[in-house]
Symmetry: C2
Subunit: 201 residues, 2 copies
DNA sequence: ACCTGAACACCGTTCAAGT
DNA sequence: ACCTGAACACCGTTCAAGT
């Protein structure tokens, strides 16, 4: 019984740490002070470190649901026959942008997670990325998107745009405009006036 | 004579601080330790602060030449009759991207400088931005670029792309690809397949 | 098992005291 | 005039000691 109580308390501590972290990240971004999170939880700093050995482990606990949701959303869109390939892709990219806006600094964590295989967010980000790739491929196969664009490029431009808007207040109408321009760069047009090399050998 | 010597020494100190700062920024990005810069210069930390009261003042001393160069480059391109408006714009955007890649973290400083009127980099960035706007307008007037795009959007997407590439090593071929896609988003195409709302009333 | 917090090695920034 | 660096208020991270 003593053990069960200890485990229960530990679980409780974990949940309280996560709640405080969500608060802190929402207020100060993903670089919020870990000491401050421990302080708010009324727990020693060592306790935070034992539950979450790195800042990324903490982020992962908070975020991987979001990445999973994004992956499920992609699968949903792939299976909806009423939604055209390009429309499905653009819808998903909007969801991605909305998700990346959750916390200040999150765009940075996402780009790092995509590139660094040792990141604790790598797995969920890679799955999210793979699902986006399927949406991209389908739109390319349908002749609606430039065939020379990679998932990396697609995600980098979207996340880079989210980042840019975040640097300055992060107004959501600005975000919508940037996404529109970025998306326009993906589209394949019948006769290109310039800058489009998607049909080169 | 003593005064002249003191002034000369101060100037010398200033130059040595700038050299150390350039080194440190090149190695560690624009968030490099100011204490470390003072240490390398073999100067008290207070001396650095008196010469450059803020990190931005230091950045400004290092960078405003670059922004001026970018502005001059724009004027040059505007006056070259042999270069088509779109080509001139894309050339300039490439120069902007190359400049923004100078230091890790510089994209952040640029976006902040553009938005914040109190930034010490604001003046040179605003001049740079204004010159880019002239290039953009000309390409729009020539019917080669979407008329609904603003300088802010154009710069944000370019700098956002530079930022994204910087998060992962910063390979320059990746940069070139991203710029191509971003630029493609600016171009006005005769018949849009989707995502282009540039001709709406 | 789980938790604590002092200790270490750093920051940015200010300001009284020195030449 | 110009320079110094101790002092203050913070960090992230580790680890011996406590329950």
């Amino acid at each position: 019984m003593a053990e069960t109580t200890a485990r229960t308390d530990a679980r409780h501590t974990r949940e309280r740490l996560l709640a405080a972290a969500r608060d802190a990240f929402a207020s100060y971004g993903t670089e919020a002070s870990l000491r401050d999170i421990a302080r708010r939880t009324k727990v020693g700093i060592g306790t935070l470190y034992r539950h979450f050995p790195t800042r990324e482990a903490l982020l992962e606990a908070i975020l991987d649901t979001n990445f999973d949701t994004l992956r499920e959303r992609a699968e949903q869109l792939l299976e909806s026959p009423s939604i055209a390939p390009l429309e499905a892709l653009l819808t998903w990219l909007n969801d991605l942008a909305v998700g990346a806006r959750t916390y200040q600094g999150l765009p940075h964590s996402i780009m790092v997670a995509l590139a660094d295989e040792n990141s604790e967010l790598h797995a969920s980000c890679a799955a999210m990325r793979a699902s986006g790739e399927r949406l991209l491929r389908r739109a390319q196969d349908a002749g609606q998107v430039r065939t020379d664009i990679t998932v990396y490029e697609m995600i980098a431009i979207i996340i880079g745009s989210v980042w840019a808007v975040q640097q300055d207040g992060g107004l959501s109408d600005r975000m919508a405009r940037l996404l529109d321009v970025a998306a326009h760069g993906f589209v394949r047009h019948p006769t290109a006036a310039g800058g489009d090399r998607s049909d080169r050998p």
